[in-house]
């Protein structure tokens, strides 16, 4: 019976069906199932399948995003039960994510957030127009591993440098890995502001984040 439930959970992710994923998560809680097991044996199997299909060119970006959204919904439903049990989901790392101050372009940033969540990171998305102060304060509050910042304009990407400079000033630079992204971001810019990594797309961002946490 439980195996059948796990299969349905994986399928809800493959279908990108957030409503079904939520319902199955609730069913798991009511049935007294270990929420961690529901994630690792059920939902994550679906995420991995879609990721594999995507890598092979069989699945497309909307399917990947929908799977990510469904995964997010399932985890959100299971979280209170995990807290109750004192169980903590093993995450790859904590990421504070934002579009920098003065910039309201967030589709790329949100995609990165969805991909990181689906890959097993805990993401704190501060949305758009986030000030350096707000970003750093959040990183300290949640004890983040990575600060990830996006900018679409050459006029706002300077805020990425400002965050890094502020981290230096406050003696916090070594505590966080910093990754940046956005259309105007080049390798040259990354080295000029001494960021730790960058990617041109959301799929690459997940690999960079994994490398950064592995490097500790």
């Amino acid at each position: 019976m439980t195996d059948e439930l796990f299969k349905q959970m994986a399928q809800s992710i493959i279908d990108g069906d957030a409503d079904a994923a939520t319902q199955l998560a609730e069913q798991a809680i009511q049935g007294g199932l270990d929420p961690l097991e529901a994630i690792t044996k059920g939902f994550v199997v679906g995420v991995n399948f879609v990721g594999q299909q995507f890598a092979e060119g069989e699945a497309f970006l909307p399917e990947l995003v929908m799977a990510g959204e469904a995964m997010k919904a399932a985890v959100k439903t299971l979280e209170p039960e995990m807290m109750k049990r004192g169980a903590e989901r093993e995450v790859l790392g904590k990421v504070v994510l934002a579009t920098v101050e003065g910039d309201i372009h967030e589709i790329g940033k949100s995609l990165v957030g969805t991909m990181l969540t689906a890959a097993g990171f805990e993401v704190f998305d501060l949305g758009v127009d986030a000030s350096p102060h707000k970003i750093i304060a959040k990183a300290i509050e949640v004890n983040a591993d990575i600060i990830a910042m996006s900018a679409l304009l050459t006029t706002t990407m300077v805020k990425q440098r400002e965050v890094i400079d502020d981290l230096e000033k406050e003696g916090l630079r070594s505590r966080f890995k910093v990754m940046v992204g956005g259309a105007p971001i080049t390798r040259d810019w990354v080295s000029r502001i001494s960021a730790d990594g960058y990617s041109e797309d959301a799929i690459g961002a997940v690999n960079i984040a994994k490398q950064l946490v592995a490097a500790g």
Binding site: G16, A18, P62, V65, M66, I107, L111, R187, E200, G204
Partner: protein, 485 residues
């Protein structure tokens, strides 16, 4: 492997390249050329046909002058619609004016070897390999003989070539490489065997013949004899003009169209006079010679305009068109190749030319490139997609999804997106990767296209020709070779 053939149909785009008055003027000029200047028909059989029908004949120069009424009356018996048959009936091609089909181009003399990348003289094995890949490529609807089998005797080369294609593909074969009476006779016999008899061949022509004119205002004797035999057997036959502004035609485009039209129309009328109702098609690949060196260009704005204008003429005469598009003059798959092959194919498709020639060549239809073949297939797919236009209805206006997303956010996780994402064109060979990924590999469309061609050649197994049937084809060719010794 899919048996599907991708063709352009129910077009949503239109182009007006010639007004009805323009067409009337070109037609009148054409008739005047045929009546006053004449067209050269160096074939006794063709001259007999004209003589029997009261045309004025200069026997010494083999020039025929015919009154407009004779030409117009003869053209009346051209069948407007017919079907090019394939070994696999699912792959039959109705020439009904509502389909654009692409074929492989021909007939080249060199090949960029698929394995070594070295340019060399073409051989029979290349014909087999190209046919096999074309069989597996849905953008290819029919074959021309792509390259010349120069390792075979020149008198029977055309027969070896069509046998090689039939042996490696179930799609229709249109040969441009059978242009003598004896070869045509043998080719018709071979086609009869494939179709299951002479009557069957008439119903299901698995072969069609394309003959080149000899611009300006001339024909080749062997071509005329071959065409007459084919028309008699019910095999669709067309004459292709390649009149080029500056050299084999006037510098002006209208004049060039009139010269080419006179060649094609006069020969088509001759076939109808000999065999009324025989399936015929118009064929053309006009261009402009290069102003500096007189070279055949295989592209350029005049070329693209001819590509669109000629189907308007063919429509005026109510016969299908086999039109030269693609066939870049570029020396490798590059900017020029992409530009020329896209524009020529787009222009010829906008007016719904029935057949497009064709995929695979560089250097003005001389050097076969497997990479170019695959790239041309993608160009056809892009044009195919564009010709579908923009469907506008309640579902495509997506109001529910727009309301669900609202200002901000994105459409990636909408059910509507999932339902329609496959409506979007998914290219095989366009580089849309991150810059860093390109930087680390420095590969491009040409590499991927070649890889795809190699994969198709290695993996695709076409439906084989019945062994006994193939032995019969071989016997016909051998008998032909023996008779010639």
């Amino acid at each position: 492997m899919s048996k599907n053939i991708k063709s352009i149909t129910n077009p949503k785009l239109q182009l007006k390249v010639l007004t009805p008055e323009d067409v009337r003027k070109i037609h009148d000029a054409t008739l005047q050329i045929i009546e006053k200047v004449g067209v050269r028909f160096p074939s006794q059989r063709a001259l007999e046909v004209w003589a029997e029908n009261g045309a004025e004949i200069d026997r010494d120069r083999m020039i025929v002058r015919a009154r407009p009424e004779l030409i117009e009356q003869a053209l009346d018996s051209c069948p407007p619609f017919y079907t090019l048959a394939a070994r696999n009936p699912q792959q039959d091609l109705p020439l009904d004016g509502n389909h654009v089909y692409a074929g492989t181009d021909g007939c080249g003399v060199e090949v960029i070897d698929i394995h070594t990348g070295v340019k060399r003289t073409s051989e029979l094995q290349d014909v087999r390999d190209i046919a096999r890949i074309a069989d597996a490529t849905e953008e290819v609807a029919f074959h021309w003989v792509p390259v010349s089998a120069q390792d075979k005797p020149h008198q029977t080369r055309g027969l070896h070539e069509i046998r090689a294609i039939w042996g490696n593909s179930t799609k229709h074969v249109q040969t441009e490489s059978v242009y003598s009476e004896h070869e045509a006779r043998a080719a018709i016999e071979m086609a009869s065997l494939i179709a299951g008899g002479k009557d069957q061949l008439r119903k299901r022509p698995v072969l069609s013949l394309m003959q080149c004119t000899a611009s300006p205002l001339g024909h080749d004797g062997g071509s005329l004899d071959a065409a007459l035999l084919a028309a008699e057997a019910g095999i669709p036959t067309g004459f292709m003009t390649m009149a080029a502004c500056l050299t084999t035609g006037p510098a002006t485009m209208a004049g060039n169209l009139a010269v080419g039209n006179a060649e094609v129309i006069a020969a088509t009328a001759m076939l109808q006079l000999a065999h009324p109702g025989a399936p015929v098609f118009y064929a053309a690949a006009q261009t402009a010679s290069d102003l500096r060196n007189g070279a055949y260009t295989g592209g350029g704005p005049e070329d693209f305009l001819f590509g669109a204008a000629t189907n308007v003429l063919a429509d005026y005469y109510n016969i299908p068109l086999s039109m030269g598009s693609f066939a870049t003059g570029a020396k490798e798959p590059n900017w020029q190749a992409g530009l020329e092959n896209s524009l020529s194919t787009f222009m010829a498709s906008l007016v719904m030319s029935d057949m497009l020639l064709g995929l695979g060549f560089l250097h003005g239809s001389r050097i076969w490139s497997f990479a170019e073949m695959m790239l041309d297939a993608e160009i056809f797919s892009i044009v195919h997609k564009m010709m579908q236009g923009i469907p506008v209805n309640a579902e495509t206006l997506a109001l529910e999804a727009i309301a669900a997303v609202g200002p901000g956010g994105n459409f990636l996780s909408q059910k509507h997106t999932r339902a329609h994402m496959r409506d979007l064109f998914l290219p095989q060979f366009m580089d849309r990767r991150p810059y860093t990924e390109w930087e680390s590999k420095k590969d491009d469309a040409r590499d991927w296209a070649l890889t795809k061609a190699r994969k198709l050649l290695a993996e695709h197994q076409p439906d084989p020709l019945d062994a006994a049937l193939d032995a019969e084809l071989e016997r016909i060719i051998a008998a032909e070779e023996k008779a010639l010794v």
